[in-house]
Amino acid sequence: MTDEHLQATISQKAALFGPDGDVLLLRRASSGRWDVPGGRLLASEDVVTGLRREVREETGLDVDVEEPIYTDTWRTKEGDGRYAVVFRCTTDSRAVELSDEHRDWQWTDPERAVDDVLSPSELRTAIERAARRRAVVR
């Protein structure tokens, strides 16, 4: 082995579908960019507990975590490793309560989210794939 292993914090995000198949987008207070809910896994948590906690903190919603859809890895400007996983999630409520991290939200058609709202190509790919899985999952 010539290279060293990546040492990373784990960012888990939700491609979150509501009762009518719309997807939830949040607008970051800091940058004004649209994003999806989620955040870093804590040391004491399992995968599903961590993602459910983050989504609840950011949206007030209880979600079902279904399956991972997309993974990505990169380094921050400071050189820290990140590994991100987007999961397909569902909820039966549309009643969002934001935290201080975000200033706006929208439930929107997945196609519109991909074409018109989200800019990072990784998120667009993840939402596209998650939407395609919709009919297939039990």
Binding site: D3, E4, L6, A8, T9, I10, L42, E67, T73, V85
Partner: protein, 133 residues
């Protein structure tokens, strides 16, 4: 928040389907246990590059990576954080060449593979079988 973010190395493994819908399992030289091929992601490689490299090093096979299917987090015996990601993959070819990390291999039906592997890796096999298109 009283808790720290997990700082982990990331282990990526392949639920690798080959001829006749059989799954490749490999036997560790260290303790004789059976596992799915794969290993830890290196710094400065993409998720896909890392998994393809590990599977090629361990089996000589090229793989088509279809999608992630299962993730898990844990701490190893020394308390270091680990995050595991399993991918549904298809083998391109079936001529396996092992590295010295493994002593044997087998192509098994999904249910036989799930039985021979650890509980976590067996769950990944079950998920891959369920989610196959």
């Amino acid at each position: 928040m009283t808790d720290e973010p997990l700082n982990a190395t990331v282990s990526q493994r392949a639920v690798l389907f080959g001829y006749d819908d059989r799954i490749l399992v490999v036997r560790r030289a260290s303790d004789g246990g059976w596992e799915l091929p794969g290993g830890r992601l290196d710094a400065d490689e993409s998720t896909v590059e890392g998994l393809r490299r590990e599977v090629r090093e361990e089996t000589g096979l090229d793989v088509a990576i279809r999608r992630p299917i299962y993730t898990t987090s844990w701490r190893n015996d020394r308390g270091n954080g680990r995050y595991g990601v399993y991918y549904y993959c298809l083998a391109e070819g079936d001529g396996v060449t092992l590295s010295d990390e493994h002593t044997d291999y087998d192509w098994l039906t999904p249910s036989a593979a799930a039985e021979r592997l650890s509980e976590t890796q067996g769950s990944a096999v079950t998920r891959a079988t369920e989610l196959r298109e």
